[in-house]
C-alpha cells in the first residue's frame, strides 16, 4: 500500500527494479541516481505526511518534504538497517517538520483550532464520502498540537515516548493531548 503510488515519470535504467536495500547502499555510498529512485518510491508517503503536519499548506508541505529528503541524504550513512528504510525516513520527516521551536511552544495549550470551513489537503478518497469527509472536517477543527498527536499516535502508530522525543514535549503531555483530541473528535462527529 505504501508503494502503490510510484510515479509514471520515474524511468529506471536497470532492466528490473533493484531491491530497496541495494538503492540505500548505493545512495549511502554517494549515488544520487539511487537516491532519486528512493525519492520516487517514497515521495507520496512523505509529502502526504508533510501535508498533515503542515495543516494542509501545500507550499509548506513541499518545502518540508524537500527538507526531509535532503536531511535523509545527509544522514543516510547513519542508517543501520535496523528498521525498514521507509520507517526511518518517516521518522526523520517528523523530526524535520516538528523540530522547530516555534511549534513546540504551542503544544501545551488547547487552542489555535483552524477556522471552520478550512479545507485541508489531502482530499478524502471520496469527496462526498460521509465518514471520511466528517473525519477530515473534524480533524481540521482540532488544535494543531492535538491533531498532530492524534495523527501520529492513532494513524501512524507512534508511541507516546517517540512523540515526546520527536517533539520535545513530555510523555504526559502527549497522552493528555491525545485524550483531548479523541474527546473533541467524538463531540464533533456526533
Amino acid at each position: 500500500m505504501l508503494n502503490e503510488a510510484r510515479p509514471a515519470a520515474a524511468r529506471l535504467t536497470e532492466p528490473a527494479d533493484p531491491p530497496e536495500s541495494a538503492l540505500v547502499a548505493s545512495a549511502a555510498a554517494g549515488d544520487s541516481r539511487a537516491f532519486e529512485q528512493l525519492y520516487r518510491i517514497h515521495s507520496g508517503r512523505i509529502y502526504g505526511l508533510c501535508l498533515r503536519l503542515c495543516d494542509g499548506d501545500a507550499a509548506k508541505a513541499r518545502q518540508a518534504a524537500q527538507d526531509a529528503f535532503v536531511r535523509a541524504w545527509e544522514k543516510l550513512e547513519s542508517f543501520r538497517g535496523e528498521a525498514q528504510f521507509g520507517t526511518w525516513l518517516h521518522r526523520l520527516t517528523v523530526n524535520v517538520v516538528l523540530g522547530e521551536r516555534r511549534l513546540l511552544k504551542r503544544w501545551t495549550t488547547f487552542d489555535e483550532a483552524l477556522p471552520e470551513g478550512t479545507e485541508l489537503e489531502p482530499r478524502t478518497r471520496d469527496a462526498d464520502s460521509s465518514l471520511a469527509g466528517d473525519l477530515e472536517r473534524a480533524l481540521a477543527r482540532l488544535p494543531r498540537g492535538a491533531r498532530t498527536v492524534l495523527w501520529l499516535h492513532d494513524v501512524e502508530g507512534y508511541l507516546h515516548e517517540e512523540i515526546a522525543e520527536l517533539t520535545g514535549v513530555a510523555v504526559g503531555t502527549s497522552k493528555a493531548q491525545l485524550h483531548r483530541a479523541r474527546k473533541r473528535m467524538k463531540e464533533l462527529l456526533i
Binding site: M1, L2, E4, A5, P7, A9, A22, A25, S26, A28, A29, G30, D31, S32, F35, E36, Y39, R40, S43, G44, R45, Y47, G48, L49, L51, R52, A58, A61, R62, A65, Q66, F69, V70, W73, E74, E77, E121, P122, R123, T124, R125, L131, A132, L135, E136, L139, L150, D154, V155, E156, G172, K175, A176, L178, H179, R182, M185, K186, L189
Partner: protein, 138 residues
C-alpha cells in the same frame, strides 16, 4: 493517567488518505541541495576492486607464509602463544571480512562483473582457510 489506557481510538481514522503525490516534481529542488559525499563519492568499480585486491594481498602473502609453516615448531615461533594466535587469526579474519564487504559494495555497482565475483569467492575461500587454520592452531 490510567483513564486514558482503555480509551478507544476514533473509528475510521486509519482509512484516511496518507499518501499524496506532490503536484510538482520536487526532485530538481532536492538534487540541487545534495552535497556530494566526501568519503565515498563516486567510488568507481575499479577503485572498489583495487581496494579489495589490496586487502586480499595483505592476507594472502602472510597466509602463504603461514601455510608451509603449519608445522607446529615454526608456526609457534611465528605466533608464539595461544592468546597471540587468537589475536592473529581474529585480526586476519577482520581484514578478510572487510575485503568481502568492499567487494559486495562494488558488486552493487556492477553485479555481473566476473572479476569481482572471482575475487569474492577467493575472499570467502580465504575466510574458510583462516578458520580451518585457527581451529587447528588455537
Amino acid at each position: 493517567m490510567t483513564e486514558y489506557e482503555n480509551e478507544a481510538p476514533i473509528s475510521g481514522l486509519t482509512g484516511l488518505v496518507r499518501q499524496v503525490e506532490p503536484t510538482e516534481d520536487l526532485w530538481a529542488g532536492i538534487q540541487l541541495r545534495l552535497r556530494p559525499r566526501r568519503r565515498h563519492a563516486g567510488l568507481p568499480i575499479w577503485a572498489g576492486m583495487a581496494l579489495a585486491a589490496s586487502l586480499l594481498a595483505a592476507i594472502v602473502l602472510p597466509l602463504r607464509q603461514v601455510q608451509p609453516l603449519q608445522l607446529a615448531p615454526i608456526g609457534v615461533a611465528m605466533v608464539p602463544g595461544p592468546e597471540q594466535r587468537v589475536a592473529y587469526f581474529t585480526g586476519q579474519l577482520r581484514v578478510v571480512r572487510g575485503a568481502e564487504t568492499e567487494l559486495l559494495a562494488a558488486l552493487k555497482f556492477n553485479p555481473q562483473s566476473p572479476a569481482l565475483r572471482r575475487l569474492l569467492e577467493s575472499t570467502r575461500e580465504r575466510q574458510r582457510e583462516l578458520r580451518r587454520l585457527a581451529t587447528s592452531h588455537v
